[in-house]
Symmetry: C2
């Protein structure tokens, strides 16, 4: 049997657009002689739709779109995912279409994703359908990971409709899992994923077909829409799965996420506050690659505490990228703000207050440009500084979208070097100088924080590996340093509560993967 796989980029709620893409793929599948074409989980609606999944109008649109798709499906079978209203709940389901009619729905048994748990109900789980000469087990989403799924001995093909987001290391792990599943179940296996950005999520594609020896016989592209047909009857040669390069995947994930954030929201232009540091340089370079240099501009906003090199490095970056850049010295505005409010300061000396004032003027200027001319402000925070609150709320935390916020500082450097290997745009000095907020004389990040190599190692254990302070200290880190980092992490949760959406690239994104109370006594955890 020839089977087609359509790996597409859907927009949540754009039923006409999603339908058009799906129908186009159905036609192509028929043209290529396929008897069956398969689409991803919740393809019809786009995902994750959160509380739209409980909106009757939204669900009705899902149903109407499905019916319209079925009408276009004469002469081919279709498996397509959608949210489905059942008794007082919505489930994630696959519709099975045969001869232009929906003959069956198969639901997801366990809702596991944090993006869906609040909004979807559980269901019966996988079922076997007969299509062509094959018994096909159709499994929705994370159900494929349920321990000891028993498809029975008559199953020829397992079809896994997925919506798997990119996160570091996930691609290789996923392929390995599917290969073993096909081998162990003695069945062919097809996995169909989404691709594309949905605000803070990037679906990475890499849909695939495995034979019953667990060999990959067809692999669709990563981070791009793709379509293929495969003759499951033929003894196709095994494909060697490509090596996954972390920096390249992060780079591609950000490109997709940023592109779709702009396209799906109808935005075209971005502004970045360029500081001469690594975060704004990488953000700017990526924005230019995705949006084109004519759609990106930089704002360089030195104060009296800025070093000469920071403006020079900023200008060099902008020139390397060929983008418009303006220099606005904030000193007068800062002086004016400071003079207005200082009478209330009871004679207290210069401290973080004045640093924050400068950062907030930066924020206000970026937002003014955004409000007046429609440039979207790209936030430049990284995961290390967000984790420990080395940020100014309403200052450098402003923006509509944060593309580096799930990368530790050391990972941002790694990504910067990757970008420079492709195209040398980030100034050498930006890569080599010591990081500084430059909001007071001779400031360095290490005045307040451990060196980033150390900080990131601690944070990774704390956040990604969920280790306790004691566990991290036992692993060889200085207890007081770990305790300080942990304390900063907890105490600055209130800042992270008010920051822009962060593109998710890790397994535990701040504020999403680990949700903590804003008010609690954390001394019990030290």
């Amino acid at each position: 049997m020839r089977v087609a796989i359509a790996q597409l980029d859907y927009t949540i709620g754009d039923f006409d657009g999603n339908k058009a893409k799906i129908v186009r793929s159905i036609r192509q599948a028929k043209a290529e002689g396929a008897q069956l074409v398969i689409f991803a989980e919740q393809a019809i609606s786009g995902r994750p739709a959160y509380d739209l999944l409980n909106d009757p109008v939204f669900l009705e649109q899902c149903q109407m779109t499905l019916e319209a798709i079925a009408e276009q499906s004469a002469g081919i079978s279709v498996i397509v995912g959608l949210p489905l209203a059942v008794d007082n709940a919505t489930i994630s389901a696959a519709a099975i279409i045969k001869e232009g009619k929906v003959i069956k729905y198969i639901g997801k048994r366990h809702v596991m994703s944090r993006d869906e748990t609040l909004h979807l109900g559980n269901s019966k789980g996988f079922e076997i359908v007969r299509i062509g000469d094959m018994n096909i087990a159709v499994v929705i989403g994370s159900d494929i990971h349920i321990h000891n799924l028993d498809f029975g001995s008559d199953t020829d093909l397992i079809v896994s409709l997925k919506s798997t987001a990119y996160s570091r290391g996930v691609v290789a792990k996923r392929h390995d899992f599917y290969a073993k599943m096909a081998y162990r179940k003695h069945a062919k296996l097809i996995v169909v994923n989404h691709i594309g950005g949905q605000t803070d999520i990037v679906y990475d594609g890499w849909s695939a077909v495995f034979n019953d020896r667990g060999e990959c016989i067809s692999l669709l592209k990563g981070f791009e829409e793709d379509f293929t047909t495969v003759d499951l009857g033929a003894d196709l040669p095994a494909i060697v799965l490509p090596e996954q390069d972390k920096d390249e995947n992060v780079y591609r994930a950000i490109r997709v996420g940023l592109k779709d954030f702009f396209v799906k929201n109808g935005f075209s232009k971005a502004v970045v506050g360029i500081s001469g540091g690594i975060d704004s340089a990488v953000t700017c370079a990526l924005a230019v690659e995705v949006l084109g240099r004519e759609n990106v501009r930089g704002l360089i906003m030195p104060s009296k505490y800025s070093s000469n090199h920071s403006v020079e490095d900023s200008v060099e970056l902008a020139q390397n990228l060929g983008i418009r850049h303006d220099i606005i010295n904030i000193t007068d505005t800062y002086t004016s703000l400071r003079e207005a409010i200082t009478p209330l300061f009871e004679g207290k000396p210069f401290d973080a207050t004045e640093e924050n004032m400068q950062a907030r003027i930066h924020g206000a200027m970026l937002m003014a440009l955004s409000n007046k001319l429609g440039y979207i402000v790209l936030n430049t925070n990284n995961k290390s500084e967000s984790a420990v609150g080395y940020t100014t709320l309403y200052g450098d935390t402003v923006g509509s979208f944060c593309i580096l916020g799930d990368l530790y500082k050391t990972e941002v450097y790694s990504l910067a070097r990757y970008i420079n290997r492709r195209n040398r745009v980030i100034p050498e000095n930006t890569l080599t100088k010591a990081p500084s907020a430059e909001l007071r004389p001779e400031q360095k990040d290490t005045d307040s924080l451990p060196e980033y190599e150390l900080l990131d190692a601690i944070l990774y254990r704390l956040i990604e590996e969920n280790q306790s302070v004691d566990e991290i200290a036992t692993a060889g880190f200085d207890y007081d340093t770990v305790k300080k980092v942990y304390t900063l992490f907890i105490k600055n949760g209130y800042k992270r509560y008010q920051t822009p959406p962060v593109l998710r690239l890790s397994t535990v994104t701040l504020g999403k993967g680990k949700i903590l109370p804003l008010t609690y006594d954390f001394s019990c955890l030290l």
Copy 2:
């Protein structure tokens, strides 16, 4: 049998503090001759603890605290709630302590609350325990609402450990539910709730005892800690449940929520930007009641677009409240900011950009005072303006906590009148003048929005009642107005994503009760 009920205010993670309160109540119960004392759901840990519920150190502390409590329980039985680690999940459980030993755990069957769904697993549900001469069905949390719970005919007493937050209208509904439950099950019923604020949640207390005819025979206080003992063998007279006044309950809920936000975070002082409008007046008045006038100050920040009366009304409010207030004219800082950035504006005229600039200077000044002197900025947004985005991100949206953000504008007026009936502090002019942001000449809110009576009626249907645009229009509202309000609601989700925690007072708090994607095509819903 004499039973004691302890209705307490717990702090999440403060195991020593929670234990001390619990042990004190156990002693009091024994002193009053009780054979059993009952505490609320997750009393030992405080609630909601979010991902702390999956932190092994946190769970170990729960267990150690429980053991310490059991040791103090000689001569009395105890039912107390806590999170409990079971095979690879955490459940919400009741520990049954008899003769100083934990003899049994009873778990919650269905996790229903959006604050827990991501963090807790399901369990077996209620069980019957024998204590004294009674068969007691112990039910955790929302399990009491499971349809057709069958406690069997031998059950003498139903004990419902709860953690029910205040929301409009909930108190009367809850008492009615319990009365009917006791009547229908022919059993006595005791419900034990928390009281106190947990960041954005206020537990309202009102624990109660019902006889098997469904009559309330003991009612603990609302919004305060309380303790009582009841002789279940005696034929106690029925209590007439008090009328619930909405404004009074909202007022009391905010007082508790604000107080605990400060106490549990170790804060003492607040600053409010006073505009002369109703929202800042009510926020300020409530802050003074809770924190004392010596701990609250106002910042009055007129610009050249401010009317004279707005400064006068602001000063009058501050004087009525007896709080320190400072007037800082923002014109110079605004001029400086505007002159610095305007060269990039391509000659475009005055618009919302300049309004936002002024609001962001307000925000920067409030935050500067906060950073320098430790005053917590209280945000003054209301639900109507947040819903339609009639706010400036990083401007009037700044702050650590928002106490009015779950009240529509018309409800804020109602609360203001309630406050003035108690103590006439809010200036008459603030109550009667037309609302205005005063960020451009002669501005009125109604330049951009429908009258608040109309706006709030539409928003209530949209948000609280989950009605579609068509349903609202069919109910008699102008279609274009509804569509405009709906569009504003959706388009401004990005602002609500970045705003401070909002004290929850309604059944659907923005950003919590209704979670929507930030990027989607909402034309399908119009």
